[in-house]
């Protein structure tokens, strides 16, 4: 399969995509099946991406980031997702976890934390959801009681990507002023990652509850205003949703590429099944939807890069790209027939993985809610 033809804004972006393809083909693609089968978290692979400078791409060079616009960063995620969705999603979640410090931290906080966060050795987690507070995130009940020189945090966070693997956690919790955002180190006493969930797909990405049992957080770990946390959470999700949209397109593209190769090879009734219009048209629709999805997330990204409001556009991209991924991966299984249902081929995994993209960072119903409100 030919690589996706990309129009990139700079020569440096083209070089970056080249590097990402080289690493993704050399280090990620050969390992994904094994790690998914064993539900093994690829910590070493994240370090490798970190050393290559891929864990801080959309952040300022001044603080150790790659200084890349979203238009470029998202295409990097798309390339990674085509080889290993859990890794691409992990990079996206890491960015989500760096964002509150980068966008809302004081100069002191940024100087102190960002170089390490973006330097490649550390991995972040973003703790918003709770067992009783998912779509209705503002109903969260985790409490941070002022205790003199900071806060004591109590509560349970649910479905936290990188739980137990991350080095730092953004925790959204209730202070007397309202919802606030705290930055916790993994080693904080009282921060207790629970047993990993057993998931339908994306198994190499660890997801678990985080119990906060009287964790003490110093006052200088409050990000943004006390009570300003919900705004931070929503702002962070604008970028996160674009990340998921790009991941979805990468996954869908991988499914299409695999299905096309298979359809060319597979002979029935004396010819390749690609020659049957029923199959050819299905593949044509998949290709068209992917192209539209890519164009949509890129147009939202360009709004963001231009500093324009883009919440509704990010929601549209997340909705359309992930629905596309679900449809395309389901159809890819159909194109492979019985082979598609067997784990010797990756398309059944793609289909299982696509499902979660419609759920996290705001379900696709919630995206419609955001879009409808913007009309």
């Amino acid at each position: 399969m030919k690589p996706v033809e990309r129009v990139l804004p700079t020569e440096e972006a083209a070089d970056l995509i080249g590097l990402v393809r080289e690493i993704a083909d050399g280090e990620l693609a050969p390992r994904v099946d094994d790690f998914e089968a064993r539900a093994q978290f690829p910590r070493e692979q994240f370090r490798l991406l970190g050393r290559a400078g891929l864990l801080g791409l959309p952040f300022d060079v001044e603080h150790g980031g790659g200084g890349q616009p979203y238009e470029v960063y998202l295409q990097v995620l798309e390339e990674l997702a085509g080889r290993w969705l859990a890794v691409a999603e992990g990079v996206s979640v890491h960015s989500l976890a760096c964002y509150p410090t980068a966008a809302f931290g004081t100069e002191t906080q940024r100087k102190r934390h960002l170089p390490d966060m973006l330097g490649g050795e550390l991995l972040g987690a973003y703790c918003l959801s709770e067992p009783q507070s998912g779509s209705d995130a503002a109903s969260l009940t985790t409490r941070a009681e002022p205790d003199g020189d900071g806060y004591t945090v109590r509560g349970t966070k649910a479905w936290i990507t990188h739980a137990g693997k991350a080095d730092f956690y953004n925790v959204f919790c209730r202070t007397p002023e309202g919802i606030s955002c705290l930055l916790l180190d993994a080693g904080t006493p009282g921060l207790q990652p629970q047993a990993p969930e057993r998931t339908m797909g994306l198994r190499s990405s660890t997801v678990a509850q985080i119990v906060l049992d009287g964790a003490h957080v110093p006052a200088d770990r409050l990000l943004g205003e006390p009570g300003g946390g919900f705004k931070i959470a929503l702002n962070a999700l604008d970028g996160g949703r674009l990340g998921i949209a790009a991941c979805a397109v990468g996954l869908a593209q991988a499914a299409l590429d695999y299905a096309v190769d298979y359809a060319k090879d597979r002979q029935q009734f004396g010819r390749s099944i690609l020659e049957f219009q029923g199959v050819g048209f299905m593949l044509a629709d998949m290709a068209t939807q992917i192209a539209a999805a890519r164009a949509l997330y890129l147009s939202a990204a360009r709004l963001r890069d231009a500093g324009r409001p883009h919440s509704a556009e990010a929601a549209k991209a997340k909705l359309f790209c992930t629905d596309t991924a679900m449809r395309v991966t389901t159809d890819a299984v159909q194109v492979l027939g019985g082979a598609g249902y067997v784990s010797d081929h990756p398309v059944e995994r793609y289909m299982r993985e696509a499902k979660v993209l419609q759920i996290f960072e705001g379900t696709n119903q919630i995206q419609r809610l955001v879009i409808a409100r913007s009309l």
Partner: protein, 259 residues
Amino acid sequence: MKIVVLVKQVPDSGADRNLRSDDNTVDRASASNVINEMDEYAIEEALRLQEAHGGEVVILTVGPDRATESIRKALSMGPDSAVHVVDDALHGSCAVATSKVLAAAIAQQGADLVICGAESTDGRVQVLPHMIAERLGIAALTGARKLTVDGTSLTIERQTDEGYEVVTASTPALVSVWDTINDPRYPSFKGIMAAKKKPLQTLSLGDLGIAAGEVGFDGATSTVVEHSKRPPRQAGNKIDAGDDGGSKLVEYLASEKFV
């Protein structure tokens, strides 16, 4: 310590490779060109020595204009600067002539240590390291799978079919390496950016005091007179897993002296 690493641009050995029909030289224009694989190990070894002992790492390439891409790629891994010898008269050079050019460029640079790959995937003659060392009058520690440096003393484990030999020499010297010696790093995004600004010196044959007639087709000690495509692969022997498949397989393996 100043380390010069020899880097050659070659056609990607994973893709279709051809000789030109007009002059029987390697077709570089239509190929997808990459850094000779073994040279990446040479670069990595040089960078590790630099990290441990300090000093400077310089990339040296003899090749056409477009070899610049490979030089930038090499620089993105971390070396400090590069020298590119490019001259139309070089086209058609044999290994002996190429070694003259490389040796002259190394002598001009001055190096405590020259590191190169043990072979290139296009020519595969494996003689260049020896020729260069001979011309420079320095020790050739070839075919290394391990290299240790202690002051001015160098020790390698030279890989052989049976195991390895320990060979030592003192600087200045040349070391050629196999792909068993290390695990080359990927460039980083910052490395790619930095590579664009690193010094790249371009030299002609004249800059090295070599006359055009000493190299290229005119100076070649050997020329390829004819070439043809490898015949297509013959259909193999297919042994069915059925009843006597096992014994047939053993018979075949025995007849080919595999067992």
